[in-house]
Amino acid sequence: MIPYIERTRTYYSTLGYPPYHWAEFEDVPFARPGKPVSESRLALITTAAPCRPELGDQGPGAAYNAQAKFFQVYTDSVEPVPDLRISHLGYDRKHSTAEDPNSWLPVARLKEAVAEGRLGGLADRLIGVPTNRSQRVTLEQDAPAALQACIDQQADLALLVPS
């Protein structure tokens, strides 16, 4: 296991930046599913971004592309699978090329689970959430927007997949 908190602290300290205080909570909310997964509708939540060709290279193996960042929660149809990219995120570019979106956006696998009867349904639209260093912005702006999107999609469950 990589100690990410320790790694990033040392990394950014070396680059001349103060340590970042990662979120830490003692109490954890817990909601029990009201029905079996096979009867539930699930919303997929991703940190990936819609591809916008005018913003430079966002393809597999692209260097970090800050231009491709977004700052508002969005939704997008899962049919067909939308063209989302992760060039704006700090994934492991040395050991992962991002060539297969299914490794960070399991839309195809979720559709299979629905077809096989393991999952009741997949929400028509996935939900994209921006990554923000400000925990306050995430909690006060983006989390309520994500909740509203889940409600709009009549989702019983949410699957969150970071990149």
């Binding site: 909310p29 997964v37 959430v129 699957l159």
Partner: protein, 127 residues
């Protein structure tokens, strides 16, 4: 930052009655934030849903997540995927490890990071 973002949002959704599962790779960040249900794959960041070009790996990872909705009895339930990224563990040494970088590369990273922050700030301000 991805893993922290989804952790905060999962906590918010749970507090408002929507059960969640996070599939991810950065275990310490997610567990420090404190989430109800987490499927951890000890893979490089960018592979939270399974190995690339490996349908079986992706199906197994999703199966763990769907199962966890039904099996978790308490918050902070972490399910560790039994999958192994590679027989070679050297990838764990490389990521954001300044010990693996020569001084000239660190100087280059300082310049690049400052540019990235400026770009993000410009986009955010609408400039």
């Amino acid at each position: 930052m991805c893993h922290q973002t989804v952790s905060l949002i999962a906590r918010y959704l749970e507090a408002h009655g929507i059960p969640t599962v996070i599939m991810g790779c950065a275990r310490d960040i997610v567990e420090q934030a404190g989430v109800p249900r987490f499927v951890w794959s000890d893979f490089p960041l960018g592979n939270s849903a399974g190995k690339p070009n490996d349908r079986d790996s992706q199906r197994q990872t999703l199966a763990l997540a769907l199962d966890l909705f039904e099996t978790a009895e308490l918050p902070r339930t972490t399910c560790t995927s039994p999958q192994v990224w590679s027989d070679d563990d050297s990838w764990k040494f490389d990521f954001m490890n300044v010990d693996a970088l020569p001084p000239e590369r660190i100087e280059q990273l300082k310049r690049e990071f400052a540019e990235q922050k400026a770009t993000a700030a410009r986009i955010k301000s609408g400039g």
